[in-house]
């Protein structure tokens, strides 16, 4: 066995120990009543509640609703952000007009706009999707813009001198050169999208993971609160792992 493998083995082993230790501590702390059960239900009861939510389908319904909202918002943000970013990089007029708005919008806490989105687009899915889009579009615009500006002039000139049209330079030279950077910003946007979806659901209701979470908290159904947080954690981990895998498979050529 080579030393590198041995080290990852040790890492995996210690990670497992660490997680098991955490769960064991949680269970023991709850069982000896460090805190009342309503504040800290034992892990076993949370797991049981999780299993029940899976069986009766409430979890599946909430999860699919939330994920659909998050994904729709993210797709819109990516599409809109890439188009705007490319336009800004290639057209000075657009750059001049949009840049101050982006500079102002990027650091703004987008969650503060929830009441406006509720007012304009109602309390159902549309307002949440658009809010997710609004929250995620700024990093995508900025990432695409700086990637498109960094494309080597020589590539563009070469393509032009070989007879490519402007639009085909756009599609076949500039856009592909931006893929790695767009993906990096997408990785930033995904957690933002999830946070925004869940928070919007908590504040505005209208179903989904966040809404159920906040209702369970209001009625002091602590096992459900914990079970839903565990599911959200799993979702976050899964998205992250999926994006890592995608990056190493399709964007290998880009040095990161």
């Amino acid at each position: 066995m080579n030393p590198l493998e041995a080290r990852t083995d040790a890492l995996a082993w210690r990670s497992a120990v660490s997680i098991l230790l955490f769960i064991a501590l949680w269970e023991v702390a709850a069982r000896v009543h460090v805190a009342p059960a309503i504040l800290l239900p034992p892990f076993s009861i949370v797991a049981e509640q999780l299993w029940r939510s899976i069986l009766d389908g409430t979890l599946a319904a909430d999860l699919s609703l939330s994920l659909a909202r998050a994904i729709c918002g993210l797709v819109l943000a990516t599409a809109g952000g890439v188009i705007l970013g490319l336009l800004m990089a290639r057209n000075r007029m657009v750059d001049w007009l949009v840049d101050p708005l982006v500079a102002l919008g990027f650091p703004a806490p987008k969650i503060a706009f929830i009441p406006i989105f509720i007012l304009w687009f109602g309390i159902e899915s549309l307002s949440k999707i658009l809010l997710v889009m609004f929250a995620c579009i700024f990093p995508v615009i900025i990432g695409t813009y700086s990637a498109a500006r960094a494309v080597s002039r020589q590539f563009i000139w070469s393509a032009l001198s070989l007879g490519s049209s402007r639009s085909s330079v756009f599609l076949h030279v500039i856009l592909p050169a931006c893929y790695p950077r767009i993906f990096t910003t997408f990785r930033i946007a995904v957690p933002v999208g999830l946070i925004t979806t869940f928070t919007a659901e908590m504040v505005a209701g209208g179903g989904g993971m966040g809404a159920t979470l906040i209702y369970s908290q209001r009625f002091f159904e602590s096992p459900t609160v914990f079970a839903y947080i565990v599911v959200m954690l799993a979702i976050g981990l899964m998205f992250d792992a999926a994006m890592r895998r995608f990056q190493s498979r399709f964007l290998r050529w880009a040095e990161s």
């Binding site: 101050p100 102002l104 650091p107 503060a112 979470l213 609160v225 959200m232 976050g236």
Partner: protein, 268 residues
């Protein structure tokens, strides 16, 4: 370039950049006064400005903004201190790192606002819940960035310092931490953004005061001009907080060119 020249240049640049915002305001005004949209759905800029002035005069903004900024700052500072400490510890001790990595990795991808109901359950409604949420959201980027900064210290620097007689204890503040500073500031900028988002979310969900609650309350009451005014206010505050951090980074890290370039407004 001489100083007056530079001042004139940046003033000119500022004017050029503010024109589109004025145009945006004008378009908003025209849309409203032409009656293209329902006034209730989109209050005119003049109404929003009047509401803003009223909020300032009544001290409404000052009071709630102080509360929100207090929560965000306390959470951010605590998160930054603990995050830097944990990041350094992870870089120092392999065993610590191997035990902590899965927990950091798990919480890193957890949407932190999910914990607000839990904190509300534990700490009730108010300061502690908000601060705890901000703290946790700021902690993770600080850990990850500090760790990354320390680990990527060039060996040459360490060897040179050792060759010149720097001891193991001195190596940390003088080489490792200093080398990690650009990364720490990158983490700080991410954490600053999170601190506002989490403070406002926590206030909307579980609080009786703060700017988040104020915005939400005006939204529920239907006094939309005041709601827009409060939102405009927090957007401006967040913008300037971000700017101040960038200026501070530029000043403190003059010696580090790429850090300054990386923190340019164009790059996240």
């Amino acid at each position: 370039m001489k100083k007056p020249d530079r001042l004139l240049f940046s003033a000119k640049r500022g004017v050029v950049r503010i024109v589109p915002l004025i145009l945006f305001g004008l378009a908003w005004h025209v849309v409203c006064s032409a009656g293209l949209v329902n006034r209730d759905f989109l209050p005119a800029p003049a109404a929003v400005a009047a509401a803003l002035a009223d909020l300032f005069k009544g001290g409404e903004i000052a009071r709630n903004l102080t509360i929100t900024l207090f929560r965000a700052t306390v959470g951010l500072v605590l998160g930054a201190i603990c995050g830097i400490w944990i990041g350094v510890m992870m870089a120092r001790s392999r065993r610590f790192r191997e035990y902590v990595t899965p927990i950091v990795g798990g919480t890193y991808s957890l949407p932190k606002s999910a914990l607000i109901p839990l904190f509300a359950l534990w700490f009730g409604i108010g300061n502690i819940t908000s601060i705890a949420a901000v703290f946790l959201a700021c902690l993770l980027p600080m850990i990850v960035n500090t760790y990354h900064g320390v680990v990527t210290t060039p060996k040459v620097l360490v060897w040179s310092a050792e060759a010149l007689g720097t001891g193991e204890r001195e190596l940390w503040p003088r080489i490792f931490i200093r080398n990690a500073l650009p990364d720490i500031f990158t983490g700080l900028r991410i954490a600053l953004g999170f601190s506002f988002v989490l403070a406002i979310s926590a206030e909307m969900i579980a609080s009786t005061n703060g700017i988040g609650k104020l915005i939400f309350m005006y939204g529920e009451n239907g006094t939309y001009d005041y709601m827009f005014a409060a939102i405009v206010c927090i957007v401006i505050v967040a913008f300037f907080a971000d700017r101040v951090l960038i200026l501070l980074t530029r000043r403190l890290l003059v010696w580090h060119e790429s850090a300054v370039a990386e923190l340019d407004a164009r790059r996240p």
